[in-house]
Symmetry: C2
Subunit: 385 residues, 2 copies
């Protein structure tokens, strides 16, 4: 059976990156992010990382068109920051600075309004991080007017981090017996203002198509590409439909900004870094992202959180098989810490101080032939790859 997601036009398996392998300057090919040499700082690696907000800007555009309220774009600032900062900390790096890249269709989008609200979003994130001891500088970026390429808008960022070469977290030290500690993507930490749906920044294409009503694509043809007329929005909901099961509107759930885990993780690393063998940010690839690090490790995840209601809703509406749901979405676990058992309760108690729900969700076992993952859930038992 083919994934609904693949049918929707998005490849979550990222086969494209192989094409660049031969020219890559990467000191630690096994690590979660590329680490390059730094000519002026021989003992340190530079982690230069790029990621975007996926198709979340399309959902924000829809809300803006329906309400006239430019603030619906604000959360995208946190999305692109989180997508980058929480990736680079996975190799043990500390963030330095970032730039943004905003490509827009100026014939559709209020550019100045958008840039002002993004600036305010970046400022808020920089302040939240700063208050938690994480310094991050903004170094500008680019806004490109590309009416013939961009239907509405696209937002990405590039972030630099730095890591001492003697302290890189490559994942090589992950051993059978290590526990997998899961940090929730939903809920509300004490450094956040609002309840989060947990959706983060991946899986939005399928989520939009299966939840939002077809009326929208008729009203705003710019929010859909359908060369053969087969792709369409096929949902039952308006963006502002409040659902009891979500505790928010469908649109709010889809636009919940990606959680910033950096304050928690950097604190955990500072206190218990020596007990940590791997860090995984569950973005593209969802709960299978851990397969990217470690050597011959069989990850068993048998004590997951109940998936946040947005994931249940997406599955119910799209009929995406559960096996793929765990591959497309974080399913409630946004970040994983792979650590020695003896440190687990201390790590969990640090995380809980931020009101971030955290628990042991599984364990590492030995595999004979490469990395593997078994998910045992109330929806069935699944093997990856």
């Amino acid at each position: 059976m083919r994934s609904k997601y693949a049918e929707s036009g998005v490849d979550v398996k990222k086969r494209g990156i192989e094409c660049f392998r031969s020219i890559l300057n990467n000191l630690f090919p096994e690590a979660f992010c590329v680490i390059s040499e730094d000519p002026n700082l021989p003992g340190y690696g530079l982690v230069t990382h790029t990621d975007g907000a996926g198709s979340k800007p399309v959902q924000a555009y829809l809300h803006w068109k329906e309400t006239g309220d430019i603030r619906w774009f604000k959360g995208l600032a946190q999305d692109v920051l989180a997508m980058n900062i929480d990736d680079i900390i996975c190799v043990g790096a500390k963030p330095i600075n970032f730039v943004d890249y905003v490509a827009i269709n100026p014939l559709r989008v209020d550019k100045i309004g958008l840039l002002k609200i993004l600036s305010s979003g970046f400022e808020e994130c920089i302040n939240i991080l700063g208050a938690q001891g994480v310094k991050l500088l903004f170094s500008g970026g680019e806004t490109a007017d590309l009416p013939d390429q961009i239907r509405t808008l696209d937002i990405a960022a590039t972030m630099n981090g730095r890591v001492s070469l003697s302290r890189v977290l490559t994942g090589e030290k992950i051993e059978p017996g290590d526990v997998i500690i899961g940090l929730r993507s939903g809920g509300k930490t004490n450094y956040e203002r609002n309840e989060n749906s947990g959706i983060m920044c991946n899986g939005l294409t399928l989520a939009r198509l299966c939840l939002m009503r077809k009326d929208y694509q008729e009203k705003y043809p710019e929010i859909l590409e359908s060369p053969d007329g087969k792709r369409s929005y096929y949902g039952r909901f308006k963006f502002d439909d409040y659902l009891d099961e979500l505790g928010m509107t469908v649109g709010e759930a889809l636009l919940s900004p990606t959680r910033l885990y950096a304050p928690v993780i950097l604190k955990v690393m500072e206190r218990f870094g020596e007990y940590i063998s791997g860090l995984v940010h569950n973005t593209g690839g969802g709960l299978t992202k851990c397969l990217r690090i470690g050597r011959n490790i069989h990850y068993i995840k048998d004590n997951l959180f109940n998936p946040d209601p947005i994931f249940i809703l997406i599955q119910r509406e799209s009929k995406e098989p559960w096996k793929y749901m765990f591959e497309n979405y974080n399913m409630g676990v946004g970040f994983e810490i792979i650590a020695k058992t003896e440190a687990a309760s201390d790590i969990i108690s640090i995380s809980e101080k931020y009101d971030l729900e955290t628990k042991i969700i599984g364990v590492c076992q030995k595999s004979r032939d490469g990395n593997k993952l078994t998910i045992k859930s109330q929806y069935g038992e699944f093997q990856y790859p």
Copy 2:
């Protein structure tokens, strides 16, 4: 009179950047690029810069669709590299590494084919730069499948450079009497393989619309955005029409990769850095880009190169007033070195060793109220701003 370019949906004046001013970490606000502090290297600044290939990918897409040859995308690799490296060297920085960001519509574009040819393009540039003593590392990047945002494809890159804080070229030392040395954007240097049209990476939206035939937009509606039906391709040419005046096909002229000036400029800086008061990469804003640096300087450009044939053609076909042509396009001068008179002939002779046509195109005078520019050309005399 309004510029044809503004009508075409692109703002060359970049008013958007002001929106981010308040959160910017910039040690030298007057310099050509943002320079941020670097926490681990106190005496050095980090220059993190993002720029894209503009709408050149649309032209490449058209060639690919018409010919089936994926190699038409290759030059875009050099375009995004040049757009970044030749900006960061303007503050006296040396490049470190870069990442790419490729956003595509996977329903239209052969992703794997595209990524492979871009990888090969990057490799070639890295090798050309390396052979000229300019080391540049590739640190990966992101490929995003965004069918509902990207009509065809968009390509950008982010580059890091580093500069000693005591050697930053801020432009503050530009004085009346300094000469403006212009480096051609067209022709062929001895480290390049092919003759270049000189177009670089700016002004492509107007160029495409005024040169390419309307048939193309009917055949490939994905290459045009026209919410009200008013925008359209209105040119007389097919992409493969050979024009004697260009010495190449119209499509080749539009896709000529942006020249890499870094080998020449870094050599000039090494030898005559003390005589250089400003460096300007003539991208968005064309020949008016110099207005961005210097204090109360009146730039007089009265000895420009004859604009390369592609610029003459674009003007003839679009009827863009000449005043705006100099604002939208580099008009034959891709890079400017502002230097003390006594070093001019030495600087020119270094540049000419690369077979890069170079000459004094003007001079700096005193202005009483901010920076000004006067262009005296065979097409008239124009004042900016």
